[in-house]
Subunit: 303 residues, 2 copies
């Protein structure tokens, strides 16, 4: 039984940070998302890789509660991304993008995926996001991520899919860009007018904000002594967030708050190493442990 | 009986933000600090103004529980600062600084101030900060603020005074500059090695972090729909923080956490209007109310 369906990219990343560099390692939004979510529930992964995609990566994904029936092997090479980060690790500078098989990606849901109650549309062409939604059978909860490229280039399709999702998970700068407003409270009000009931603004090292019509919840990022590579942090956040919601099937404000913390926990582990390395040996107890650390980090007494 | 002593600047500010501009309005670090702190306890203000300092500003300060015996009237003009902010309101661009009487400021504590148990040294020349400390009689708690200008220009004096204070309250960028390190956990460890037991890093719209050897506490900034002028936010934060500590005389970690929230409350009110305008009609009940709003903003359930 599939609780959660994720559509996005699986990639081979080459990344340089002030703390080292790696070449053609496992990456991609759907990869980070489903690996993080797999600590909470079983995930079905819909993506495409090329014929060159290393078998060891398939084996790693299979070692997690991730269903790969939706992972297509296309003719050609796997999507490749190459980027670097400066000392502040805030934002990646993309050096190269080779879409390869991803260019013709047209996600097809296996029959067993179509009734997944919770759906995550990672950052891909909003027309593909719409195409995926049309294959589903009225999921209880749909969330999407997007980016500047689509906000600029496919605004109409993006607005259409925004009208059909419950949750938007988006970077701070992109949230501002989407509604052309600087003040985040106003940004949130405008985005919530587009359809979604919940907006999550990701702020990197500054944490995340969750907005509904009625409330705001603020979560910090976990202060880490060693951040090696921020690649995938946002998708790992989304994975922890959606994974917790899919597991608990409770979409109340209190549970959304907890989900934001679980998202922040997964993001904080993600950045401790390059690629998905930290998840290879991350024990579920450590997820609980860092959740408690977040409580310590933010708790203060009532008056 | 004076619970709290503050030394810093009283100024006439001219400020331009995307939301308006004001000319020669009440400003200065000690002004913001003592006004915010005066919601919690009685403050003694040590500063200098010129002969041109408007009587209405004196009347405003006197209308609060602020003792002005330490406010010297020097020969010449009051310190003037002129700055502007862009749409992101993150950082002021200083257009003009006229030190005027502040140039020869040599703070003298009235006898009744010398036994104040809690002392705040706002951002002034570290040699003057040292001079003030030498006039006090072993206060229970001393905190200081500083800035890039002194970190670069008076490093030795600054290190000397850092060795004699309990708490440092400093901007994120300046904290990094002080110990030439980017990662904030490492920054904190290095700064705590210089003497202070507590470090507070102010992050503007991203809130504040409190570090001790044993723990970290993270507080968000309050998400406001209308931020008019960030001038004085940091000093208002320090005022709420130190005011709460001076009132309660409890320097435990739990109370430090509460103090950070009270600081954040006062900063959030400060930025809602130009100059100190918001404090002219801020009711003490509103301080309590926003404290509760911070609890709502950050609360999540244990697992």
């Amino acid at each position: 039984m599939l609780n959660l369906l994720a559509v996005g990219s699986v990639a081979l990343d080459s990344v340089k940070t002030p703390f080292g560099q790696v070449t053609e390692v496992l990456g991609g939004s759907a990869t980070y998302f489903s690996t993080a979510a797999s600590y909470f529930t079983r995930v079905g992964l819909v993506a495409v890789v090329g014929e060159d995609f290393p078998k060891e990566h398939i084996a790693f994904l299979k070692s997690r509660p991730i269903d790969l029936e939706g992972l297509e092997v296309g003719r050609g090479q796997t999507f490749r991304w190459c980027g670097e980060y400066g000392y502040h690790l805030n934002e990646a500078r993309t050096l190269e993008t080779h879409l390869n098989v991803f260019q013709k990606f047209n996600p097809q849901l296996p029959n067993t995926y179509k009734e997944a109650p919770v759906v995550f549309l990672a950052n891909i062409d909003p027309e593909l996001q719409l195409g995926v939604l049309e294959q589903t059978r009225s999921p209880d909860l749909v969330a999407l991520d997007t980016m500047n490229f689509w906000i600029d280039g496919k605004r109409d399709a993006l607005l259409k899919v925004l009208g059909r999702v419950h949750i938007v998970i988006i970077n701070e700068g992109e949230a501002r860009q989407l509604v052309q407003e600087v003040n985040l409270v106003k940004v949130a009000r405008e985005i919530l007018k587009l359809g979604p009931k919940v907006l999550i603004i990701k702020r990197g090292e500054y944490g995340a904000l969750l907005f509904t019509q009625e409330a705001i919840f603020s979560a910090p990022a976990y202060p880490l002594e060693a951040v090696f590579d921020p690649t995938g942090a946002g998708d790992s956040f989304a994975g922890g967030f959606m994974g917790h919601l899919a597991r608990t099937k409770d979409f109340s404000m209190n549970n959304l708050r907890q989900a934001v913390i679980f998202g922040s926990v997964m993001a904080s582990y993600c950045v401790e190493a390059f690629s998905l390395e930290r998840f290879r040996n991350l024990h579920p107890d450590e997820v609980q442990e860092r959740y408690r650390a977040f409580k310590q980090l933010t708790h203060f007494d009532e008056m």
